[in-house]
Symmetry: C2
């Protein structure tokens, strides 16, 4: 195993063992490199890799710190990974969304705070009668994110959010708009909100399933 990989494991070990808790500051590059028995360059590669997945936070002129290690931080590296996938695997991602999003909607119907439900409604209302594609995409992301957050499960929220890259969303909404299906999709969003607001998990789950399956079906036809 390469020296750098060993260094990654050692730093990981220091964190997992509790020696370095969330927010803790690492020794400066030179000291840590000496302690781990390698050069600064090699250490930097290890630190860079860990900062890529949001485990470390390096601040020039200040130091290197362990992040809060909250699930949302660690999992949103996922969206970076998703970007690499092309048409052939997109349907697989969608199949997973069809599992997760209904579950999230159902949980939201049980747990979401009333204030947050109001916010959810406001998100839909914010969209005018003839929004641009960009507005639709941004609104769509915000809508699904708000539901995911409402499940009170950061892991689930991050997965739902990370599993569909912005690029793919843009393509989908463009296609839906061209087909004149955007209005129906927005109606489904409203139905999901209504189900959550009336605290009907089963109904929320079903509407979410219908919603995702509809988009998935369109996507399957297009590809």
């Amino acid at each position: 195993m390469a020296l750098t990989d060993e260094a990654i494991d050692k730093i990981k070990g220091m964190i997992v063992s509790g020696e370095l808790g969330p927010g803790a500051r690492l020794p400066k590059e030179a000291d840590l490199a000496e302690r781990l028995g390698l050069s600064r360059n090699s250490l930097r590669e290890a630190v860079r890799a860990l900062s890529m997945i949001r485990v470390l936070d390096v601040r020039q002129g200040d130091g290197t710190y362990v992040t809060s290690l909250e699930p949302n931080l660690l999992l949103d590296a996922l969206s970076f990974v998703v970007d690499f996938h092309r048409d052939d695997t997109v349907l697989q991602f969608f199949e997973v969304r069809r599992v997760l999003e209904p579950a999230a909607a159902a949980l939201a119907a049980e747990r979401m705070l009333d204030d947050d439900i109001d916010k959810l409604q406001l998100i839909l209302d914010d969209l005018g009668d003839d929004p641009t594609i960009e507005a639709l995409v941004a609104n769509d992301i915000e809508f699904h994110r708000q539901i995911a957050v409402g499940t009170d499960n950061a892991v689930l929220a991050s997965l739902v959010e990370g599993l569909s890259g912005p690029t793919m969303r843009a393509r989908i909404w463009r296609g839906l708009t061209q087909e004149g299906a955007a209005a129906r999709t927005r109606e489904q969003h409203q139905a999901i909100v209504d189900a959550i607001a009336s605290r009907q998990p089963d109904l929320a789950r079903s509407w979410a399933t219908v919603h995702i399956a509809g988009v998935e079906e369109w996507l399957r036809r297009v590809l």
Copy 2:
């Protein structure tokens, strides 16, 4: 943004745009560094970060290549991330598993090949009457992996596999064994196989739910 981060984006762009397809070989360090306008050291940090998440595969003495970019490769970096989490967020991961695993079991009941179902049964049979903790853990991992693979959805399989780190599994089985609950857990495994073998998705889903929820409940009590 740091130079290295720019380099990461540029390499990512070369891959996403199709300039570098799966299996393609990158120019050698020196050439690529010059082309991207940075030093070899900085480029190496970028390459290291991308190889961490299995996008690039560096082979000393040979060269650096783009991986197959298959979902399982890219997502099994997930288990690395999961390892960082401690007790307080483990339950969140489990809640997601309770969503994904039943769905996987149901899909497996529909799609899994007969031969693979036989293999699944063999996995359970391989375990003797008084297995060690290590054997139980290895068997457990293999069992759930086999089901996930049977869904014919690599993304789902990777998520299911990555979402529960080996460390956590070991703790769980140790605890279950101490409570004498290991036998019941193994019976649940058998029930899931039976449901899949008899092609009953609903039954498979229910047994999987019962299985995960049972472990989750035990975990909730312990923590």
